[in-house]
């Protein structure tokens, strides 16, 4: 029997379970992603019911196996008010974490990067750059980090104006061949935790998308929905 209390979490997703319960997929600093069964929380007279994604919570759970039972929940910190485009960015981040982070694989770095990106995507001008930086940290934490400190093999310093081919099994290579085309300056900026503008941003997006796609078992659903939504309304999001 495991008993955990006072664990800060963000809810990534929740499913209905039976008539009155929910299964919460939580991101925690100490235990990674955990599934927790919240019994009876959909009843009209349930206590704390605001178990929506993105709300910072402090929870406790108890039990053995894959699905321990929620024993305690309370709000933690200042609630985040995501709306509009920021909300769509949040859904994308949640799906990404759900897809790439296995249950019980603890990565405090991912938890902190997640808390950071949720705060920063509320700033419209920074949304795209912050999503890219989160993808970069997520890949690095999971052991799929990009090689950004030099050329493949010899680690010779990258030249800003050179167009490299980024091969995922070795790194940035000069010349023609397999890999994602990307300029040295884009890779150097990524190595410093920065996303440039214009072409550099587009290159970073293409590179990170290719790196993520390699790790996915099935395509993500949120980007497809964003495309549908942007066809309907004026919202345009390119996660």
């Amino acid at each position: 029997m495991t008993r955990v209390s006072g664990q800060p979490v963000f809810i990534l997703h929740r499913y209905e379970y039976g008539e009155t319960s929910l299964v919460l997929e939580c991101l925690t600093p100490e235990f990674g992603r955990v599934g927790v069964l919240a019994k009876g929380v959909r009843r009209a007279n349930a206590g704390y019911r605001n178990l929506d994604p993105f709300a910072p919570l402090l929870i406790g759970w108890s039990g053995r196996g894959e699905l321990p039972v929620l024993t305690h929940v309370e709000p933690y910190g200042i609630p985040l008010a995501l709306s509009g485009r920021a909300l769509w960015c949040g859904f994308y981040v949640n799906e990404l974490v759900m897809a790439l982070l296995h249950r019980h694989d603890a990565h405090p770095g991912i938890f902190h990067a997640y808390a950071r990106v949720l705060k920063l995507i509320t700033d419209k001008g920074r949304q795209d750059a912050e999503l890219r930086l989160f993808e970069l940290v997520l890949l690095r934490e999971l052991g799929y980090g990009l090689i950004l400190d030099g050329e493949a093999g010899n680690r010779v310093a990258l030249e800003p104006d050179t167009l490299y081919r980024y091969a995922f099994d070795s790194g940035p290579c000069k010349g023609t061949g397999e890999g994602v085309p990307v300029h040295g300056r884009t890779l150097i900026a990524l190595g410093c935790g920065q996303i440039g503008d214009g072409e550099a941003r587009r290159e970073a997006r293409r590179l990170l998308k290719a790196a993520i796609d390699r790790q996915l078992r099935a395509p993500l659903r949120t980007p497809k929905l964003f495309r549908q939504i942007s066809q309907h309304a004026t919202l345009v999001l390119k996660p």
């Binding site: 997703h13 039976g18 008539e19 704390y48 605001n50 929506d52 994604p53 993105f54 709300a55 709000p75 200042i78 609630p79 008010a81 995501l82 709306s83 509009g84 909300l87 769509w88 949040g90 859904f91 994308y92 949640n94 799906e95 759900m98 659903r221 949120t222 497809k224 929905l225 549908q228 939504i229 309907h232 309304a233 004026t234 919202l235």
Partner: protein, 197 residues
């Protein structure tokens, strides 16, 4: 001793939400042992409903005719269109007695992580409704969950693109409650949406 028709009845009853094997057995034995007339009425009512009930072509709610009585009523304001997630929400709003416009029932909500997008929700029908020239204000009454908020925001964008005013029902403190026991999320939103007293 297992009787196949009784087993079949129990299995059928288990399709109802909240009915497990024990409840299904109790219901089956009750209907067969003590209320056969009731059982016939249930069977007949289900058959009639399944045969006759469809979605209203205007509001998408359940109806026994092509256009439901709410949509046909001349006493309701055609300029106001309230968007809700489910037929149960229409019942709740009607019970409030505070809304006299018309409805559109989405029969769900956008849920990106479950793969439910505009196409799955049949947003085209709502768009067609908004372009018919009658609606002047869309009242967004989707649930106050992140998915409900995302849905409301998306429909507000469509409404604005059609030149229609979009309003969201207020988010605040429930009547008869004390501030001490209100969660901070609700309290923050209520403060944000305060108005002149």
């Amino acid at each position: 001793m297992e009787v196949p028709v009784i087993e079949e009845l129990k299995q059928a009853l288990r399709r109802l939400p909240g009915v497990g094997p024990k409840s299904a057995q109790r219901m089956a034995f009750h209907l067969l042992g003590r209320d056969r007339e009731g059982a016939r009425r249930i069977a007949e009512a289900i058959e009639n409903a399944v045969r006759d009930v469809r979605h209203c072509t205007r509001c998408n709610n359940f109806s026994d005719r092509d256009v439901c009585t709410t949509c046909l009523s001349v006493r309701r304001d055609p300029a106001l269109l309230c968007i809700v997630e489910s037929p149960a929400d229409v019942v709740s709003l009607e019970q409030s007695g505070a809304f006299h416009g018309r409805y559109f029932v989405l029969m769900g909500r956008l849920s990106p992580l479950d793969g439910i997008g505009p196409a799955e929700l049949g947003i085209e029908r709502l768009e067609a409704r908004l372009r018919d020239g009658e609606t002047k204000e869309v009242v967004l009454a989707t649930n106050f969950t992140v998915e409900g908020e995302a849905t409301a925001h998306f429909i507000a964008e469509i409404a604005r693109a059609c030149g229609i005013r979009a309003t969201r029902i207020a988010h605040g403190i429930p009547g008869g409650s004390e501030l001490e026991y209100i969660d901070r999320n609700t309290l923050a939103r209520a403060l944000g949406a305060r108005r002149d007293a």
